[in-house]
Symmetry: C2
Subunit: 312 residues, 2 copies
């Protein structure tokens, strides 16, 4: 973790506090970092960073304390607490970074006492309080405005790491059957119908009807629910049935909170006795693509990219 700069420290002292990878190269004049990724939990932030680096970006990762994991240590990085917006903006200025992306969710909604508010944080408090909580387009647009008024562009993972986006058509070894397609349609339309309420990035359909809609609990928790419903016989225990659909909320800003799946999702889908997963092509993310696809093939789960116009 990098040292905490104070407003009274001189420039040299501040530069010394930066991680080696982030110190601007005085000889070449080149800036070694040009993109900040503000990181929540999980492997997703590091994966976005790796994709971004592969695409020629030079990412600097800022991990939210208590959320970002060790994965971010593979890149130039530091950690900051909730509310240290003054420190954040100062650091971006020091590094000459004019582009920021968000990656990864937050486990815990911060309570007021979690905010180590500096002056920049106090000034931005009204908008910052709900910073990066996800699931709320109004909060997101407010957060984006907070950066934009300081001349910092907010970009999406899809822009800096487009290789993470789900393609259309068959993704793994298996394809959905006719009944699956009918279920995909129902769950997809349910997601879109819920878009106006800022929820509905995922739903499960089985036996001709939608049986679960994702709320704040997230996809893994919803899939555990399906497994429980099957265990008690409220869903058929014969064979694998039903589909998980992940879709973007209509009108959602793609710069945060895109629906995503990874190897764990596929395992939970199989454990829930579902036949497969349909993803809105170009608007959802597949993490660890190779591992995820291999898990799907091994567990006999289909992965399929759908385009909204198929269901219009």
């Amino acid at each position: 973790m990098a040292g905490k700069p104070s407003a009274s420290a001189d420039k040299a002292k501040r530069a010394a506090a930066l991680p080696p990878a982030a110190i601007p190269d005085a000889k070449s004049g080149a800036n070694p970092v040009d993109l900040a990724i503000i990181c929540g939990y999980g492997q997703f932030p590091a994966e976005v960073a790796a994709h971004a680096a592969a695409a020629g970006h030079r990412p600097y990762l800022i991990g939210i304390e208590g959320e970002a994991g060790d994965e971010i240590s593979a890149f130039a990085h530091e950690r900051m607490a909730w509310g240290q917006l003054g420190r954040l903006f100062r650091r971006l200025d020091e590094l000459g970074i004019r582009r920021v992306a968000f990656a990864g969710g937050v486990h815990r909604r911060p309570e007021f006492r979690d905010f180590k508010l500096d002056w920049g944080g106090v000034k931005a408090l009204p908008r910052a309080l709900a910073f990066m909580l996800g699931g709320d387009n109004t909060v997101l647009s407010g957060t984006i405005k907070l950066f934009e008024t300081r001349g910092i562009e907010v970009v999406g993972a899809h822009q800096i790491a487009p290789g993470l986006l789900a393609p259309s058509g068959r993704i793994g070894a298996l394809a959905p059957g006719t009944k699956d397609i009918a279920g995909i349609r129902q769950a997809f339309l349910a997601c879109k119908a819920l878009g106006a309420f800022d929820i509905g990035q995922a739903a499960v359909a089985e036996g001709g009807r939608v049986v679960a809609v994702e709320g704040l609990e997230g996809t893994d928790e919803m899939l555990l629910r399906i497994a429980r419903l099957r265990a008690v016989g409220k869903l058929s225990r014969k064979g694998t049935n039903g589909v998980l659909v992940k879709a973007m909320k209509p009108g959602q800003d793609m710069r945060a909170d895109l629906p995503a799946i990874g190897p764990k999702t596929v395992e939970n889908v199989a454990a829930a006795g579902l036949a497969g997963v349909a993803l809105e092509a170009g608007h959802t993310l597949i993490l660890e693509r190779q591992v995820t696809t291999a898990a799907a093939n091994r567990l006999k789960v289909f992965l399929h990219g759908i385009r909204p116009q198929e269901f219009a």
Copy 2:
């Protein structure tokens, strides 16, 4: 439990197998029962029966084996297994019953091996398989048709026990606040938006957004989810916030599966840290009204009846 009649038994023998309360009175010519209530689990069937009896109906309760509890024993009753439709229709004929109501849900979706199919059941199999599973208007309308083609009218709990319906306005001691009203509106509209998908009889809103939508798991399970989200800090742990809304699916046939609350619902609402419950007036049921209202007052939870036109 009454004896199982066989097709070859003569009328006298069959009449002898009926519970005393159900034997037609030869002297007066009066029929002691005039309404069958097909009973799932819980106290709801017996409560419907009590309300119906108070309103002058003479109910005969048919408990689904493995679902209906001891509560039905307070009334003339017998138990039947899934698929004994031949027996059911024969018994209705014997008793001269021309009206049937459904009350109570089923815990377990029957598997094929659960069906003790008699000939009447075999003939009706295509429609009977999904009998009384709830959450599927197509199945319900098919089931209703199955009775209607035999000249038996299917009535709703709201028709035979209208005292169970939620009124509009304040029901308990507390009323919702301004923020609660905003949440009620959001959750109510989310329920209605999901109606086309045959789900969405309940939703929870908190902090300006819908955070949970009920699927096949039911209201109690959804409320446990809210309690868990609060325990891990994904919902604020300060004070009581948020509202549970229960509403009828638009276009729903009111003759089965009306949304309902009871004392347990109120306890779960309090345990989830929610401020109260809003019910669609005239289209949802309050079980054990006095006990439910007393629990709400004791746990400082509001109960409020809303009319759809308030949110149009």
